[in-house]
C-alpha cells in the first residue's frame, strides 16, 4: 500500500480532529485582535500628526486644525474636542490618548483588548497575555502622563511596538488553528477599515487645500503614507515621487505590501475561508462571499477604476462592504 492510499474513513476523522472552539472565545479572540490593531493605528496617527506640526510649523494653521479634526473623523469619534486650555492639537492628542470615556482612545483600545484577553487567557499563549498585560499596566501607570509629557514620540512608539510585538507573538506562539485565524481576520478587517478612512479623510482635506505650495503638499502626502506605515514601501516603488494618485493607488492596490488594502483584503479572505472550511467544509458563508468578491475586484482592478466616481466614494463603498462582512462574521460564528 502506498502512503497516499489512506482509507477514506481515516481521512475523514483526521479532517475533523480540529478542536472545536467556544463561540464566546472566538468572539473575544476577534475583538482582542481588533483592539490591538486599532491601538497601533491610533498611536501612529497621533504620532504622525504631532510630527507634522513640527515639520510645517505655523505655516497653515487652518490646515493643522483640519488635520487634528481629521484624526477624530478617522477614528469615528465625532464628538467635539474637549474644552480646556492649550491648542486644539494638544487637547485632541490628550483626548485620544488618555480619556477613558472616549471608546477609541489609546487607553480604551488597550484596556478593551486586555479585557478580552483576560477572558480567554486559557486559550492564548502566556507570552501574548504577558505582553498585552504589561502594555496595559504601562499605560495605566501613575507616571504615564509624565512620560507622555517628557517624550510624546517615545510614548506612542512604545504602544506601536507593543502592538506589533503582540502580533508577532501571536504568530510565533499560537498554533495556526481557528484561534489564530480569528485574530488574523480581525486584524486585517481593522486595518482595511482604518486605512481606507485615513486615505479618504486626508484626500478630502488636501483636495480642499489647493493653495498649498508644492513643497508643503509633499510633506502632507508623506504624512499620509507615514500614517499608514507605508512611506518606505512607497519610496522603493515610486522613488519618492509624491503624486496624490500614486499614493492612493499604492495604498489601495499594491499587491505585496502588508499595509495596503488589497493585501489586507486578501489575507482576511484567506482567514475566513480557512475558518469556514474547518467549521463547515461544504458551504460558503456570507462574510467569505463579500470578502472573496472584494478580493477579486481589487486583484483585477485598473488604477483608474478607483478614481472613476471619485476616490472618497470608492472608499466609502469599500468600508460599507467591510462593515457587512464583519456583521456576517458575528452572525455566523459568535451568536450560536
Amino acid at each position: 500500500m502506498t502512503p497516499l492510499s489512506i482509507p477514506r474513513s481515516i481521512q475523514f476523522s483526521v479532517l475533523h480532529a480540529a478542536r472545536p472552539m467556544l463561540a464566546r472565545d472566538a468572539d473575544a479572540m476577534y475583538w482582542m485582535s481588533r483592539y490591538v490593531e486599532r491601538a497601533e493605528h491610533v498611536a501612529r496617527l497621533l504620532l504622525v500628526t504631532s510630527n507634522l506640526l513640527i515639520d510645517v510649523g505655523d505655516l497653515a494653521p487652518k490646515l493643522q486644525e483640519q488635520q487634528w479634526h481629521g484624526v477624530l473623523h478617522i477614528m469615528r469619534t465625532e464628538a467635539a474636542p474637549p474644552e480646556g486650555t492649550g491648542s486644539v492639537g494638544i487637547r485632541i492628542a490628550q483626548y485620544m490618548t488618555f480619556d477613558r470615556e472616549n471608546p477609541n482612545s489609546l487607553i480604551s483600545c488597550v484596556s478593551r483588548a486586555r479585557e478580552n484577553a483576560r477572558g480567554i487567557r486559557e486559550i492564548i499563549s502566556a507570552e501574548m497575555w504577558e505582553n498585552l498585560n504589561t502594555l496595559y499596566w504601562s499605560l495605566r501607570a501613575e507616571e504615564a502622563p509624565a512620560r507622555f509629557e517628557d517624550s510624546t514620540d517615545d510614548f506612542y512608539r512604545q504602544v506601536m511596538t507593543g502592538s506589533m510585538l503582540f502580533q508577532g507573538l501571536t504568530d510565533q506562539t499560537l498554533a495556526h488553528d481557528q484561534r489564530w485565524l480569528f485574530t488574523q481576520l480581525a486584524k486585517f478587517l481593522e486595518r482595511i477599515d482604518v486605512t481606507s478612512r485615513v486615505i479618504e479623510t486626508k484626500f478630502n482635506i488636501l483636495r480642499a487645500s489647493e493653495f498649498l505650495e508644492n513643497a508643503l503638499r509633499n510633506i502632507h502626502w508623506m504624512a499620509v503614507l507615514r500614517s499608514c506605515c507605508s512611506i518606505e514601501g512607497y519610496r522603493r516603488q515610486h522613488l519618492g515621487d509624491m503624486d496624490p494618485n500614486r499614493v492612493a493607488s499604492f495604498l489601495v492596490l499594491e499587491r505585496d505590501f502588508p499595509r495596503s488594502i488589497r493585501y489586507a483584503v486578501g489575507m482576511a479572505h484567506t482567514a475566513i475561508a480557512s475558518i469556514r472550511a474547518e467549521v463547515n467544509p461544504l458551504s460558503i458563508d456570507p462574510a467569505e462571499r463579500i470578502l472573496g468578491r472584494l478580493n477579486a475586484q481589487l486583484e483585477y482592478a485598473e488604477p483608474a477604476e478607483i478614481f472613476a466616481d471619485g476616490l472618497p466614494a470608492y472608499l466609502q463603498n469599500l468600508q460599507e462592504q467591510i462593515g457587512e462582512a464583519a456583521m456576517a462574521v458575528q452572525k455566523s460564528y459568535f451568536l450560536h
Binding site: M21, L22, D25, R121, E122, T134, W137, H336
Partner: protein, 494 residues
C-alpha cells in the same frame, strides 16, 4: 534583619528560641542574612512585578465594580519537615475518605442519623443540604473530588483542623504561581533543600476528573465552569483550564438538550462529559435551585441525575463543610472507618445545643463566633477584639438563629517571619493543603500558607488583607541538610 524579632509567646515556625532557628530553617536564615536587606528588597520588587505583569490577581468585591489586586506574596518560605508532613498527609486522607462516606450515607441510607451519631435536625437544618440529591447515584460514589482543608497550629505547635472546604476550595493556583516566582527570584534558596515538587497538580486534577467521566467510547470532554471574569477567583479558573488544556466555559456557553449537556462552539454544539464547576450549587441550575441565576445552565441537574454528566465537586457537598457538622467529623471518622482522628478539631460549641449556646452567650468576649455557612472570613466575630456593641449584635443574631452559629475558643495561631518593609516580623499563618480524590487519594505536598499581614491579626483570608507564602515540604531523606557556610553564600549572592 532578625535582630528585633520576637516570638511574643506564640509558637514560632522558624525560631525555637530567640536567634536560634530550628534545624530545617537554618539554611534559609543563613541565605537571607547573606543576601542582606537591599538585595532581598530588590528581589521582592522583581516578584511583585512578575505577579502584576502575569496578571496573577484576585478581585475584591467591596471596592466598586471589583478591582483586580495582587495577592500579596511574602517571600520567606514556610518549611514543613518530612515527618510532620507524613502525619498531616495521613490525617487528610483519613478525613476526605470519611467525608465522602458521610456524603454518600447522608444522601442514601442515613445510617449515621439513624444510629444517632449526628442529630438529624442538624443535617436537615443545614443550608447546604440538598434534598434534590437524595438517592441520586453520583459517578463512582465520589462527592468531594477536591478538598481544601484548613490547618492551624496552636501554642504547642499541634496541627489542628480549622475547617474543611468541600465545595469549591480556591487558592491552588497561587500555590503553583508562588513556587514559580520563588524559583525565579530566589533560586539559590532551594539549593540546600530537597523540596517536594507540586507542579503535577493540574495533571492529577485532570486524571481525577477523567476518573469520574461517564463511560463512553471516546475521550471525555472536560471543561471548567466559571461564573466569569468578575469572579474573585477568575484568575484561578482560567489558570486551571489552561494548565489542564481544557475549555473554560461560562453558563451562557452551555446548553442542555435531551438530558445531555453541550457547549456552543463556532461549529455548533459539542457534548460535555465532565464539568469542574467553580459555581456554587445555588447558581448551577435555575430550574432546580435559584431561579434568578444567570451563571448556571437550565436543565443541568437533570443531565446530572441521568448520569450523562459528572460534576466535581458533586452537588450537596456543602452539608459536609457546614461549620456545625464539622464538629462531628471526628465522630464520622470513628463511625465509618473505626479509627481515631489523626488531626484533631478545634473545640467547637454548637449554638443549636442549649448548653453550648448558654456558654457561648456568657463568654462572647473569649470566643470566635462563626456563621456556619460563610467563608472568606465574612460573618465572623472575634470576641476578644470586638466592641461591646458588636458583641451585643452577635448575641441577638445567635439567639434569633442558633443553628446558623458556632463558636470556638481563640486559637493563638503559630507565627512565621514575614518581610515587613526591610526587616522580619512575626505574622500569624495557617495552611490549606489540597486533596484530590480520584482513583486514589493524592495530597499535594504543601499547600497554600496564608499570612495575616496585619500586625496581631488572626484573619488570614485574602479578602481581609491576607497574603501567602511558598510552602516547602521536604523529602524524607536528607531533610536536614546542614546550612552552607555563610562565607560561601556571600560569593554565590554577588
Amino acid at each position: 534583619m532578625f535582630e528585633q524579632y520576637e516570638a511574643d509567646g506564640l509558637f514560632d515556625e522558624m525560631f525555637a528560641e530567640p536567634n536560634k532557628p530550628r534545624a530545617h530553617y537554618e539554611a534559609v536564615v543563613a541565605r537571607l542574612k547573606a543576601l542582606g536587606p537591599s538585595a532581598v528588597a530588590r528581589r521582592v520588587r522583581m516578584a511583585d512585578l512578575t505577579f502584576r505583569n502575569q496578571g496573577i490577581t484576585f478581585t475584591v468585591y467591596s471596592d466598586q465594580r471589583g478591582v483586580e489586586k495582587i495577592f500579596p506574596f511574602d517571600m520567606v518560605p514556610r518549611i514543613i519537615p518530612a515527618d510532620e508532613w507524613e502525619m498531616i498527609e495521613r490525617g487528610l486522607v483519613q478525613r476526605i475518605t470519611a467525608l465522602n462516606l458521610f456524603c454518600q450515607d447522608i444522601y442514601h441510607e442515613q445510617r449515621i442519623l439513624r444510629e444517632r451519631i449526628i442529630p438529624p435536625d442538624l443535617i436537615y437544618g443545614a443550608k447546604m443540604f440538598r434534598r434534590e440529591m437524595f438517592h441520586v447515584n453520583v459517578p463512582r460514589n465520589i462527592y468531594i473530588h477536591i478538598c481544601g482543608t484548613d490547618l492551624i497550629r496552636d501554642k504547642q505547635g499541634r496541627y489542628l483542623v480549622l475547617e474543611d472546604n468541600g465545595r469549591t476550595p480556591s487558592g491552588v493556583s497561587y500555590v503553583l504561581e508562588n513556587r514559580g516566582v520563588m524559583k525565579r527570584v530566589f533560586p539559590t534558596m532551594f539549593s540546600a533543600y530537597k523540596v517536594r515538587a507540586i507542579e503535577d497538580y493540574p495533571h492529577n486534577l485532570l486524571q481525577c476528573l477523567k476518573h469520574v467521566a461517564p463511560k463512553r467510547a471516546d475521550e471525555p470532554t472536560i471543561v471548567v465552569l466559571t461564573p466569569g471574569t468578575y469572579n474573585s477567583a477568575y484568575f484561578e479558573h482560567s489558570f486551571l483550564a489552561r494548565q489542564m488544556g481544557v475549555e473554560l466555559v461560562e453558563g451562557q456557553d452551555l446548553v442542555v438538550d435531551n438530558s445531555f449537556v453541550y457547549m456552543r462552539t463556532t461549529a455548533g454544539l459539542r457534548r460535555v462529559d465532565v464539568i469542574y464547576r467553580r459555581v456554587d450549587d445555588d447558581f448551577l441550575d435555575p430550574l432546580c435551585f435559584r431561579s434568578d441565576s444567570c451563571l448556571g445552565v437550565a436543565g443541568l441537574m437533570n443531565a446530572y441525575r441521568c448520569g450523562n454528566l459528572a460534576l466535581a465537586n458533586a452537588v450537596g457537598t456543602g452539608v459536609a463543610d457546614d461549620k456545625a457538622v464539622y464538629a462531628y467529623v471526628p465522630d464520622m471518622i470513628k463511625f465509618y472507618l473505626g479509627q481515631d482522628a489523626i488531626l484533631p478539631n478545634v473545640p467547637t460549641y454548637i449554638c443549636a445545643r442549649d448548653d453550648d449556646r448558654k456558654y457561648v452567650l456568657e463568654n462572647l468576649d473569649k470566643l470566635v463566633v462563626k456563621s456556619t455557612n460563610e467563608s472568606g472570613g465574612y460573618g465572623m466575630l472575634m470576641g476578644h477584639q470586638a466592641s461591646r456593641e458588636e458583641r451585643a449584635t452577635f448575641a441577638e443574631r445567635i439567639a434569633a438563629d442558633p443553628r446558623n452559629y458556632i463558636a470556638q475558643p481563640v486559637v493563638e495561631l503559630s507565627q512565621h517571619p514575614s518581610l515587613i518593609d526591610d526587616r522580619f516580623e512575626g505574622r500569624r499563618i495557617d495552611l490549606r493543603p489540597y486533596i484530590l480524590y480520584g482513583e486514589k487519594v493524592i495530597v499535594m505536598p504543601g499547600g497554600l500558607t496564608r499570612v495575616a499581614l496585619r500586625k496581631g491579626s488572626l484573619v488570614v483570608n485574602s479578602s481581609q488583607g491576607g497574603g501567602s507564602k511558598d510552602t516547602w515540604v521536604l523529602e524524607a531523606k536528607d531533610e536536614t541538610v546542614a546550612a552552607p557556610k555563610s562565607s560561601k553564600e556571600v560569593t554565590v549572592s554577588t
